[in-house]
Amino acid sequence: MTALEPLLSVEDLQVAFKTQDGFVPAVRGVSFDVYPGETIAIVGESGSGKSTTAHAIINLLPGSGRITGGKVLFEGRDLSKLSRHEMEGVRGKEIGLVPQDPMNSLNPVHRIGFQVEETIRANGLASSKREVRKRAVEVLKEAGLADADQRLRQFPHEFSGGMRQRVLIGIGLSSHPKLLIADEPTSALDVTVQKKILDHLESLTAERGTAVIFITHDLGLAAERAENLVVMHRGKIVESGPAREILQDPRHPYTQRLVAAAPSLASKRIQSAVTSGASLESAEVEGADASFDLVSVAERTADTAVADAPPVIEFREATKVFKIRTGGPRSIPFTAVDKVSFQVPRGSTMALVGESGSGKSTAAKLLLRLEDLTSGEILVEGKNVAELGKQ
């Protein structure tokens, strides 16, 4: 599979936005290549121009944006010069898009099936009603959704964020495009979901030989998933090259700062520091998985705190149940905090860690009596919180 020609070749791309103060450049001369089947990641902070570059490739800039210079050569054609009609033909069929925010990227008033099927029809994959339906089911199955048949009839708000993103990935890949642009495809999702989705995306694109452009602000994630990196800052590329090389030997000062600050790389460093007794090298840390025992680390740290001091804060089987109205006559009880017990010794700092929906904010509110307990107790300095006045 040695290709000599790049699939996509961006040459000195310039994009500007029209504002009240005139044209503001967002992308100032960006050039890079993407070869068939390879995955590259464009990394940068918000405002660096990475998203804009990606959207400019398929001419999906918001109303005030314009390509002011350069070329976007896809299989030899300059996409920036195509007519609207021609561009519509390229989008979806040749170049797919997986957008950033799964919550808002699906039309809430149409069923999922409707939105998948219209893509299939628009990209000419099938025409008869039954064929289209069959393909839609296939798309959802490939995206990893069980009960594809039922799912087609549901509305977006009935899906979780992860499921919606899968649908979007499915739609993006539905016509087997040669290139997929994935714009921060998982930044809106929880960490555990992220990994599953990215793995799935990787397997799909590897299977089909789809080239992928990943847009992300997370250098660690980029390095993990892409062979080559492009680092952008303030509309320009500051460094680009093989991912491994850049991670191990960042040469531009900006890249160096990014490497130092990347959150996923930081957590890997913590992991590697704690388990260093087992002689793991930092480069192989990526094997560590979710079964990593944070609780044991916390306990060990806690042991080193002042062991004899009485706890300042203590949760004893604290429980909080919310009643959620479903729109019918009954309401479903929802247990946000379920018999949680822990102690915080004086002078120590404890972090409540959890994903969204784990109940950590509710627990904090229970402590401050911004919400009331359904059962159990919370003690502050030995006194029950419920008995203290509003102060």
Partner: protein, 336 residues
């Protein structure tokens, strides 16, 4: 690392370090323009021609309402005659004695002609301004006060009081206010004055304002910093008051300006139907238009001039409302 086999070994490119490099990342550009809803709104308004035109016209209307005699010396109700009876009058008007004045065209000192009753159209229009404006203002104030109080109570106390008040709002909202006003005015034949008509119009118009206040109060109630300030011991009421007031002022202003236009229209409509202000005591454009209906074919101007006055007044307030709304609503500004 990615499990794919790399297709190629990409060149490692490093850009030149420029512009002070990394330091630029840290520098935060401090905006030199102070951002504030009211300041921004004023800046926005200043640039709109619609604002200036409507504001100027409204000031003019207020002036006319306060000082009608500056515009015409002719009394609107006295001295109406169906035909010229005395030589003296005939001379002053420049027409022969016995001329039918009813529905007559313009004459010296009577630039817009005469109504069917022989009264001066221009004078009636000038004197009718005050009526429309008074009703408009009273209704607006009434609705604002009722709406704010009820909405705030509903939002702040919540619970059953909230449900009750909102249900009440739904009920009042379900009655088209002009129909209700028709019924009220029908029953109060002898007590028809500006206050009664204003009450009749305004009494059913509070739900919209109340809902705005209530939603603003609810929104503020759930804000993080209200909870935070409650957590550190500040009175919830005081915090909410400080935050609800400025935020809700904008939508209330918007809805009130448009409401004012609606109130003027309502009074005119009621008068037109015959259940408005009694014609002998109050000048009302609606009354004039109603009286001129049958002259549509013969003397259309008796109907058209008061219509123009009415429409232009309402238009001025609606234009003002539009520009104010665009200036105060950040989302609307994005859509301009």
């Amino acid at each position: 690392m990615s499990s794919k086999n790399p297709v190629r070994t990409a060149p490692h490119f490093v850009a030149e370090v420029d512009e002070g490099g990394v330091g630029a990342v840290d520098a935060v550009r401090v905006s030199d323009r102070k951002s504030n809803l009211w300041l921004d709104a004023w800046r926005d308004l200043r640039g709109r021609w619609m604002f200036w035109v409507s504001a100027a016209f409204i000031l003019f209307i207020v002036f006319v309402a306060l000082f009608p005699t500056a515009f015409t010396q002719v009394p609107p109700n006295d001295g109406c005659m169906l035909s010229v009876k005395s030589q003296e009058v005939a001379d002053s008007l420049g027409v022969p004695i016995g001329t039918r004045i009813s529905d007559h065209g313009p004459l010296p000192r009577h630039p817009l002609g005469f109504t069917k009753q022989g009264c001066d159209v221009f004078s009636r229009i000038v004197h009718g301004t005050g009526t429309s404006l008074s009703v408009g203002i009273i209704v607006t104030v009434l609705v604002a006060v009722m709406g704010v109080v009820i909405g705030a109570f509903a939002g702040y106390f919540g619970g059953w009081l909230d449900s009750l008040l909102m249900r009440l709002g739904d009920i009042f909202f379900a009655i088209p206010y002009i129909l209700a006003a028709v019924v009220i005015m029908s029953m109060f034949l002898h007590e028809r004055n500006i206050w009664v008509i204003s009450l009749a119009i305004g009494f059913f118009s509070w739900p919209s304002t109340a809902r705005i206040l209530r939603s603003e109060v609810l929104r503020v109630k759930n804000l993080d910093y209200v909870m935070a300030s409650e957590a550190i011991g500040l009175s919830k009421f005081r915090t909410m008051f400080a935050h609800v007031m400025p935020n809700s002022l904008a939508p209330v202003i918007i809805i009130s300006t448009v409401g004012l236009a609606g109130a003027i229209t309502a009074e005119a409509t009621l008068s037109f139907l015959g259940v408005g202000l009694p014609n002998n005591i109050f000048m009302s454009w609606g009354n004039d238009i109603s009286a001129a209906q049958n002259s549509l074919r013969t003397a259309p101007f008796t109907l058209i001039y008061p219509s123009i006055a009415l429409s232009v007044t309402v238009l001025a307030f609606i234009m003002l409302g539009e520009t104010v709304r665009d200036a105060l609503d950040p989302k609307a500004r994005a859509t301009r």
